[in-house]
């Protein structure tokens, strides 16, 4: 019997290969290795979107003068800013910090989404899976309703409250998600996340509904998400969290690949699956909490960016993680630019733009990759 069914060694292979590929053993053997040009493309994309969002704004500033203003900050290059006091303040205190903030938030959400998808082996996992959004929403609402006025201090209490809320929600998820005997399974964590998110959202809605319209509008404005910032304080606030979290997730990129063969096999080649999962989830969650605390809830970035990269660059997290960082940053900076430009002077909520731009693009990529596959 066994002799009849013989999947041939020779059936696969040779005819599919072109000679040109065979002549390039490195590329041929390591098709998903992260290459310098990938990084270069990502950096270029990010720099272009940053530049565009500094050059373009609802208030017209001559691009040449803005460029001169940017060049004037480069040491040793003696260019004089062509802008007046208002233009300079606009470029350096509003446009530049909000572009950089967009980069940080976009990078964080994209890389956290990719990491969650790896850890939970679920393509629909997003950075808000474990209750970060609901927790941050409650924190922000409490700060808006009961806190001191946002303009009363140099640093608004809102991001801090949102961060505390997000961390509290995820801590609750972790506590409840631990089964009585044995470690947390991804499934029980996700279910605990759903319960915690529902509870926090209920409390948030209860508090928000009891307020007058002004506070309510501020709460919903925050929830819809946005990157408008005044000065560099929010950037300075979240940059350390994003940097540490991104570094940890980058370091775990191979571990995410390893998790896909199951815990036991991963241990056999030296990967502590439980420990890796915990480290990744904690890093991604802290980073997301920090990002959300200043940007509100911006959806879709954490799903669309990693999946697009997956479709274009393959399923290995060795590529997905670093490229999500770069392209996530660029994507959100561009989305923010579009949010201000499309119906100028009216601003479209950023979350609407990310979905509006990202979803069709993602579908195109999906169709293309199906055809090729």
């Amino acid at each position: 019997m066994t002799l009849t069914a013989r999947p041939g060694l020779d059936r696969a292979g040779t005819p599919h290969l072109r000679k040109a590929e065979a002549a390039l053993p490195g590329r041929e053997l390591f098709p998903t290795r992260l290459r310098a040009w990938h990084i270069a493309a990502g950096v270029l994309f990010l720099l272009c979107s940053l530049l565009a969002s500094v050059l373009v704004g609802p208030y017209h500033l001559p691009p040449a003068q803005v460029l001169a203003a940017l060049a004037s900050k480069i040491p040793l290059l003696h260019v004089r800013s062509g802008l007046g006091a208002l233009g300079n303040a606009d470029v350096w205190q509003i446009r530049a910090p909000s572009a950089v903030l967009g980069g940080l938030v976009g990078a964080m959400l994209a890389v956290a989404g990719a990491s969650y998808q790896g850890v939970f082996a679920n393509p629909l996992a997003d950075p808000y899976l474990l209750g970060v959004a609901a927790g941050a929403g409650l924190g922000a609402t409490v700060a808006i309703v009961y806190g001191p006025a946002a303009w009363a201090s140099s640093l608004s209490p809102l991001p801090i409250a949102a961060f505390v809320g997000a961390v509290a929600a995820v801590a609750a998820t972790f506590t409840l998600g631990r089964s009585r005997n044995g470690p947390r399974s991804p499934a029980s964590l996700v279910l605990a996340g759903v319960a915690v998110a529902a509870f926090f959202t209920a409390v948030q809605t209860f508090i928000a509904q009891r307020q007058n319209s002004g506070d309510l509008e501020v709460v919903y404005n925050w929830i819809l998400g946005g990157l408008s910032t005044a000065g560099w304080a929010p950037v300075e606030l979240i940059a350390p969290y994003v940097a540490v979290s991104a570094a940890v997730l980058l370091a775990c990129r191979r571990l995410l690949d390893a998790l896909s063969v199951g815990d036991e096999e991963a241990s056999s080649f030296g990967v502590h699956a439980d420990r890796a999962r915990l480290v990744v989830v904690v890093a991604a969650t802290l980073g997301t909490a920090a990002a959300v605390s200043v940007s509100g809830l911006i959806g879709f970035v954490g799903i669309i960016v990693p999946h697009t990269i997956r479709l274009l660059a393959g399923p290995s997290y060795r590529r997905i993680i670093p490229l999500s960082l770069l392209f996530g940053a660029g994507f959100l900076v561009l989305a923010n630019l579009a949010a201000g430009a499309v119906l100028s002077p009216e601003q479209i909520p950023l979350g609407v733009v990310t979905a509006f731009l990202g979803a069709p693009f993602f579908l195109v990529v999906l169709r293309q990759s199906r055809r090729m596959g």
Partner: protein, 315 residues
Amino acid sequence: MKRAWAKAVIAIAVSVATAAALSPFSTPEASASPPARATSETFPVTITSGSGKVTLTAQPTRILCLSASATQMLYSMGAGKQVVGVDKYSTWPPGTPRTKFTGFEKNAEDYLYLHPDLVIFAFSEGTLVKQLQLLHIPVLVLPPANNFAGVYNQVNELGLATGHIAAAKRLDTSLASYVAASVRKAGKDGRGASYYIELSPDYYTATSQTFIGAEFSLFGMRDIADAAGRGTAYPQISAEYLLKADPDYVFLADTVCCHETPAIFSHRPAFSLLSAVKQHHVFGVNDSVASEWGPHTIEEFVGFLARVLASTTRK
């Protein structure tokens, strides 16, 4: 936010608050803090508003007003010529330079094409105010007033900020005397009468701690929501609560948003049992009476209330 605003108000006008709170329609003349000179020579001025201290070095000539109530105040005191833009909710007076702005924009850069030299908000989440401060554009935040003292105070602040101190005082005086005249006209008809002010068909209402509540209080009316307003000035009650409280008067301030009318209200289940329905004491009013505290809105509503109370009888 509210707490900080309260602190700010106390800081500017302790005397106004104490004097005027006791007697809501006393003119605030005695307590006005600024010197009574009303020209551009008074600049620079420093004003403490909901956004902190702001210094105006010269009389503002390009005001962007993103509060419908403040728009009414500015135009009523003759500062309209200095206004270059008002928000989309500023419906009075007609002929103002209305914009699409709501005062909740994401980016203060949106306002720059108007080149404003003073921006006035009713609400602010802080980012807009901070952005304008970084752009060196003065900002005034005049949050919703809770009583008449707050209104007079905001009028005075705007007078100081725009260089119309005397006109602002005159506006206060005329508003106060109009209100006093209305109360006299209503006589004792309102004393002790209970009322329900509806903000939305799902029974959101306002207690007497709000500005509209203060207007009813002028006539000695009693808010049925006060017992429900624990911790919030805008509680949500229920149909059952309403039936039990059985107010003498019902005012529907959801005629614009939700197209409520006295007829629709009367046909809600069991509402035919309400005394107000039986006596036809259900009145539709513009939604803005509950959300604005400008002199025009106040005069309209207080005048309307006086007419209603004078023309109806209670059993």
